[in-house]
Symmetry: C2
Subunit: 228 residues, 2 copies
């Protein structure tokens, strides 16, 4: 799930997609979620996209590499390349142009997996011990994931939890905003199932958002009272 708000100051914000998918139906699905400087992430996506279309390029593209690990390496090095281009403006500019990426997907012969790719170009893969990744304005939404996520959760409850985590951030910070993009990948399907956009007037989002305040207050009453 990704939000769509981008801003260059509170007087200059707009809606932009931060989730991008490439697929070879029956063979691979690759999804990127981006956070950080918009010029950097757009350049990254454009480079990956262009290179996947130019068949004459010598290097294999994200549509040809045989494993998700190699795709992560290619995206990491491309991200680093884009950020280092900004070094012409000096190291301070370079730190402003930082971005990070979550890569998810599956290539035939491998399992579905997720990588978190850092601006330095290196990356980590998801494990059972750290079962989720967040990028961008991640702190507000983390406590509910830490406390309520359970690997045995149903698919429907996982979406609900994601929505509550995003909504906690939206209520606390102006730099994250609706609509939200959601992508669900069914393991071993090698196709993009559905990719709904959750708008501000979405009935389910509104029910979750307005119900969560009450549910939290009820949760508090379940805890024992403080006594001096």
């Amino acid at each position: 799930m990704s939000d769509t708000r981008t801003n260059a100051g509170v007087d200059n914000f707009s809606v932009t997609r931060k989730m991008f998918t490439w697929d070879v139906p029956g063979e691979r699905v690759i999804t990127l979620l981006t956070a950080g400087n918009l010029a950097t992430t757009q350049a990254l996506i454009s480079l990956l996209d262009e290179r996947s279309k130019i068949v004459e390029e010598r290097n294999p593209t994200i549509l040809e590499l045989p494993t998700m690990f190699q795709v992560a390496r290619l995206i990491g090095s491309t991200l680093k390349e884009v950020i280092q281009d900004s070094w012409a403006e000096g190291p301070e500019a370079s730190s402003k142009f930082k971005a990070s990426v979550i890569l998810g997907g599956q290539i035939k012969g491998g399992k579905p997996t997720l990588f978190l790719i850092y601006p330095e170009g290196n990356f980590i893969e998801i494990t059972e011990d750290s079962p989720f990744f967040q990028i961008g304005e991640a702190k507000y939404g983390k406590p509910i994931l830490v406390r309520a996520y359970d690997p045995e959760m149903s698919f429907e409850d996982t979406i609900k939890l994601l929505l509550v985590s995003f909504d906690s951030t939206i209520k606390a910070n102006l730099s994250v905003g609706l609509p939200l993009d959601l992508q669900v990948y069914v393991g071993d399907s090698f196709e993009v199932d559905n990719k709904p956009r959750i708008e501000a007037d979405d009935a389910y989002y509104q029910a979750v958002s307005s119900g969560w305040g009450d549910a939290l207050r009820n949760a508090l009453t379940q805890l024992p009272s403080y006594k001096e």
Copy 2:
């Protein structure tokens, strides 16, 4: 409420008090909560403390100024002075030596109030529209305050909420840790009522911390389920 963890890297952390109180019984109670660079906040506290003891100093001290607003101005200018001393090391060092402060208290003739004082020395006062202040690692604990705080809350429920907010942060970030210091000021009492320290083995803290995960999962089940 304040935590007590201070660190200079994950291999160098310790316990230090971040809550400081001065009082003139029957006349004023002044409490500071500090966040940011420890050398800066210790210098601030020491300067305020020394100057309140040296009667020959020409300038009035926090124990003599007639209003909380003037106390906030004095603390703001002292904080700015401490941080600017680090400019000798260059502007980069100065930004590392930043700190911010919450000032709370009451002086006879005025109401109890709170100020949030920035490293630049300026400050804002609490209002009904923004009824709480946070400093330091504030993001993790904000969503629960935004959603569950209610000005009609009982005193006991407010402490419970504070504890849940701190615990959400402690579970998500290593830079915040137990024990927690709590101070309760009874309006118009002009004395410090009690100042308990909540240790990791505190029975009430443990009940809240272990109960909150279950309470959150119950809260999630109260929300409608996601349907594709």
